[in-house]
């Protein structure tokens, strides 16, 4: 649906994006992840045709954004970082304007009712945008992107600046939209992308440093990690772990260690027998293991490791 190839954007001497390529299939929900200033917004602005790339190209449903901008833009609904709202208009007037601007063909009343229902702005339709709260403005911004029912939605940090309740609501909304739209969403909040997206693209300093299914991102780290709980003294367990070849490094989880039970997060190499080696080593020294399980990487860990590697 969206194909981005070798995208580079330079602002004078500053390179905002360098050689970024990826493609998004129809119906996929993709998250752009990266710290502030990583190039997420720049990439989105180029895909939507607001900015032009220095080199490389973007096609939306086969239409090049530079050569057939009208056809490409028709297929995109865009929520920029700052919702593009006219404070002097009411929500209804604003949606009317967007409807005409996009030349939408849907039956207006039914279409608006549907959008307002979905984004939960039906109650404020007669109010001036300048009097709306930040949460409502964000939702009017999303409603604006939905006008004309474009197959692709590009949402730049849709939850930024919202309160926790609104964040949950917005995520639910995006998930729902993902059922029948192709969505690209950006965020610097890792758990958010994890909750909403099928696939994650990690950007840092304008470079694409990872692109994979959200549940497979951990494999980029190489090796695996386990959480180990054993009864014994601190020094005993550390000595045991240090003596094992399959253990790359380990770390004590102070918070989870109570009394004689110690908890460690252990990074293993890729060998198949690693767990058995640990078991026998501990059993031989009469240090009972009470729990041994695969550790879940948090996206924070993944992210930090990717960023420091790149």
């Amino acid at each position: 649906m969206i194909k981005v190839s070798h995208l580079t954007k330079k602002y004078g001497n500053i390179t905002a994006l360098s050689d970024v390529s990826f493609s998004v299939k129809r119906g996929e929900v993709v998250g752009f992840l990266g710290p502030n200033g990583a190039g997420k917004s720049t990439a989105m602005n180029i895909i939507t045709g607001y900015l032009s790339s220095t080199s490389g190209n973007v096609t939306v449903d086969g239409h090049d954004i530079l050569e057939e901008p009208t056809e490409a833009k028709k297929r995109i609904g865009y929520l920029p970082e700052v919702p593009p709202l006219y404070p002097d208009m009411t929500v209804n007037e604003y949606l009317d304007f967007i409807y005409e601007l996009k030349g939408a063909k849907q039956k207006k009343d039914a279409h608006f009712n549907e959008i307002c229902e979905l984004t939960k702005i039906a109650a404020v339709r007669g109010r001036l945008i300048k009097n709306l709260s930040k949460g409502y403005r964000q939702r009017v911004g999303i409603a604006q992107a939905l006008v004309g029912n474009p197959p692709v939605l590009i949402l730049d940090e849709p939850t930024v600046g919202l309160d926790p309740k609104q964040i949950v609501e917005t995520r639910t909304l995006v998930k729902k939209l993902g059922e029948d739209h192709t969505v690209i969403l950006s965020s610097h909040i890792l758990s958010e992308v994890q909750a909403v997206c099928d696939r994650i693209i990690v950007l840092n300093n304008g470079k694409l440093i990872a692109d994979s299914k959200s549940d497979q991102l951990g494999q980029h780290l190489g090796g695996r990690a386990v959480t180990l709980r054993a009864v014994g003294s601190d020094s005993e367990i550390k000595a045991l772990l240090n003596g094992l070849k399959c253990v790359r490094r380990f770390e004590k989880n102070e918070a989870a260690s109570k009394g004689s039970v110690q908890e460690f997060t252990v990074q293993l190499d890729a060998s198949e027998q690693a767990r058995e080696e640990i078991f026998f080593a501990f059993a031989g020294k009469k240090t009972p293991i009470v729990e041994l399980k695969t550790a879940e990487y948090s996206l924070e860990d993944i992210f930090m490791s990717l960023v420091s590697k790149a």
Partner: protein, 234 residues
């Protein structure tokens, strides 16, 4: 184009801008009407339009300053430029909305002509010709103001920019009164907006003046489109 035209026209009257512009226009044109009445000569009627020209130059920045700078400030240009519409119709829509407000004010002067017609029969072709001329005159300066507005995101800077240009033109018109150098007088009359209006005042539809105003209008609309396109590439 229709969508943006409607929005912009509405925006003038959702804020005080449109009303303030109309009020100032009516105030000054009524003063000139008053002075025409006191001369008692119907042939003096174009003075309402002619006398207004300098005021119009100084007032038009009020209409043009917000056209593009406001979009940039509120980041609403993102929704315009990512919508499936070309830049030229967007610019035209904005230009026509400002022109409509201005033209609407110009039409108010027909009331003066109507009042006149109770006493003497005004020369209608002269009145229509002057409205036509005043519209061309305004269109040209609206295009200039819109161009300046497209270059900044501060309404204040946009207003001051077009206001300064207006002031230069107003001062320019004083030069011919202070010099006897034929060349300078001719030069100033040819580039001055007010100087170019003179034929309309005298009831002449001067082709070179019409072409002058139309080409200024077209040139600055074109430049505005280029500024917006360029921003994409910078």
């Amino acid at each position: 184009m229709k969508a943006i035209y409607k929005r912009e026209l509405g925006a003038y009257f959702r804020s005080p801008t449109g009303y303030v512009f109309c009020a100032i226009y009516l105030f000054f044109s009524a003063m000139y009407f008053n002075s025409v009445l006191s001369t008692g000569q119907s042939s003096e009627f174009p003075r309402i339009y002619y006398g207004m020209l300098s005021f119009i130059l100084l007032m038009l920045p009020l209409l043009t300053m917000r056209l593009f700078s406001e979009e940039r400030k509120y980041k609403t240009d993102q929704v315009l430029l990512t919508s499936p519409v070309n830049i030229t119709p967007l610019v035209m829509g904005k230009f026509l909305s400002a022109l409509t407000v201005y033209f609407g004010c110009t039409l108010f002067t027909l009331i003066y002509a109507a009042v006149f017609s109770f006493f003497v029969s005004p020369s209608w072709p002269l009145v229509i010709g002057n409205i036509f001329g005043a519209t061309l005159f305004g269109a040209a300066f609206i295009a200039v103001g819109m161009f300046i507005s497209s270059m900044t995101e501060s309404q204040f800077v946009a207003a001051m920019g077009s206001f300064s240009i207006a002031t230069v033109f107003v001062i320019l018109d004083v030069i011919p009164l202070r010099t006897s150098n034929e060349f300078i007088i001719k030069l100033v009359n040819n580039i001055s907006f007010v100087g170019r209006y003179t034929p309309f005042k005298n009831g002449i539809l001067d082709l070179s003046s019409i072409v002058f105003f139309l080409s200024i209008t077209a040139a600055f609309i074109f430049l505005t489109v280029r500024v917006l396109e360029k921003r994409r590439w910078s």
